[in-house]
């Protein structure tokens, strides 16, 4: 899908994508497991055990009040308790945090981009909790976490004046990503989708990242709808507003497809904001 787009990108951008630190092997093995490939939880747990920090985080989550009272004692116990998708999310989140630097092109400091992804991930999870009958894939959480990774690449490898993009968008009354496209030839959603493909994420994750700012969509994808909404919620709770602010495209009927009215949307915003506050407080408390 994206190979033709990739060919049109500047060499610096393509190099930036291929030079991006690869996802840990654990993430690929977890994705293989989710696809139904021949993988076992035991072998994945063994792989996790090589990362003591990750195992510690996993055990904390597995032994939190949310789960059963019998303590998880090792990585395998923890994986079985929290589920493979949650473990994948943790692995990807830790990896993203290790990559994240400021994205000055977008007016985002070192914490902003990561917090925006984390807030979107929490929002996707809250949406799936509120609307279980929609059967939104759990990989929506991962797609939401990664949906703006294209901003990292563009900030690192292109010299783009954020204020010029903002001024252009205001003058021509277009969204920020439309202004990106007109000024630099592509936007962060395209780059993000190429990164997702490079990291061997499922095709529907790359599609959701590519189209999360489409005002009109022809794709019948609950995962895409979930990422659109998750991005919206993250902005509502003030995570990663940056230069773009609220000047972004989103389908005006996404709430209908997700069967949301204002009270449920507000509930998701509240859940996300509270979880985000706890996440940020927890990350600041780490030694």
């Amino acid at each position: 899908m994206l190979s033709s787009i990739k060919g049109a990108l500047p060499a610096d951008i393509v190099r930036g994508i291929t030079d991006l630190a690869p996802l840990p092997a654990t993430a690929h093995r977890l994705m293989a497991l989710l696809r139904g490939d021949d993988e076992s939880l035991t072998s994945i747990a063994k792989l996790l055990e090589s990362d003591q920090g990750l195992v510690a985080s996993l055990l904390r989550r597995a032994n939190s009040a949310r789960y059963m009272s019998n303590p998880a004692r090792n990585a395998l116990d923890a994986v079985m308790r929290v589920g493979t998708v949650s473990v994948l999310d943790m692995v990807v989140q830790e990896h993203l945090r290790s990559l994240i630097t400021a994205a000055p092109t977008y007016g985002l400091d070192e914490n902003d981009l990561w917090q925006h992804g984390a807030a979107a991930q929490l929002a996707a999870r809250a949406l799936r909790t509120e609307r279980p009958l929609l059967q939104i894939p759990a990989t929506a959480d991962t797609a939401a976490l990664l949906h703006d990774i294209g901003k990292l690449i563009i900030s690192r490898y292109l010299k783009v004046d954020a204020r010029e993009v903002t001024a252009y968008a205001a003058q021509h009354e277009v969204t920020w990503s439309e202004a990106e496209r007109r000024l630099i030839g592509f936007d962060h959603t395209i780059i993000g989708a190429v990164v997702a493909e490079h990291w061997n994420f499922p095709a529907d994750v790359a599609l959701a990242i590519r189209h999360h700012h489409d005002a009109e969509t022809t794709h019948d994808s609950r995962l895409l709808d979930a990422v659109m909404l998750a991005n919206l919620v993250a902005k509502m709770v003030g995570a990663g507003l940056g230069e773009e602010g609220l000047n972004f495209g989103v389908s005006a009927s996404v709430h209908e497809r997700l069967s949301l009215d204002f009270s449920v949307f507000a509930k998701i915003c509240l859940t996300t904001q509270e979880a985000m506050r706890d996440l940020v407080a927890g990350s600041q408390a780490k030694p």
Partner: protein, 174 residues
């Protein structure tokens, strides 16, 4: 000194940072009350020039009934419970509602969602704030609201002036 305020707190310090669902009231002329990342949220800024008390509320959603449990735990999250708490806290510092100068900042809307009631938090917040203040006999004397821009607010406790910025640019002085 930078201080984050819990709901319904007053604090001495030179730089008081107010987050979502929080408020601050100050009568120290050296204080600056600040809130960041106002998108669809609203900052309600009050100033009583006689007793020289400044207050700022940063709320997320219009009505406490959206989540009564949250409203009990953190009333400043919502316009109705939060504005009431802001004024109650200010009254303890000698503020008189009839003297208050009130400004509203924020309430931005997502491009393309202005007509979508189910998702338009910014517009709902703005309407809620205006209605609650009007119903309580409080006039709004200045606003920097709407559009799609994110805003940061600095409220000076020395003179009640509100500076509104987006990024590095000054948007308004209220």
């Amino acid at each position: 000194m930078s201080t984050t305020i819990d709901p319904a707190g007053t604090c001495r310090g030179s730089r008081l940072v107010v987050g979502i669902g929080e408020l601050a009231v100050s009568q120290s002329p050296d204080d600056m009350i600040i809130t960041h990342a106002l998108g669809s949220c609203i900052a309600v800024c009050v100033w009583d020039p006689q007793v020289r008390v400044a207050g700022l509320l940063h709320f997320l959603l219009p009505e406490a009934k959206l989540n009564m449990d949250r409203a009990k735990r953190q009333p400043a999250t919502f316009a109705d419970s939060g504005i009431a708490l802001l004024f109650q806290t200010a009254y303890k510092q000698g503020v008189d509602k009839s003297r208050c100068i009130v400004r509203l900042v924020g309430g931005a809307e997502v491009a393309g969602l202005q007509g979508v009631a189910a998702l338009n938090v910014g517009k709902r917040n703005l309407l809620a704030a205006r209605q609650i203040l009007w119903q309580n006999g409080v006039m709004v004397s200045g606003e920097s609201t709407g559009g799609t821009i994110p805003r940061t607010v600095n409220l000076r406790a020395s003179d009640g002036v509100v500076d509104v910025r987006t990024g590095r640019d000054m948007v308004a002085t209220l």
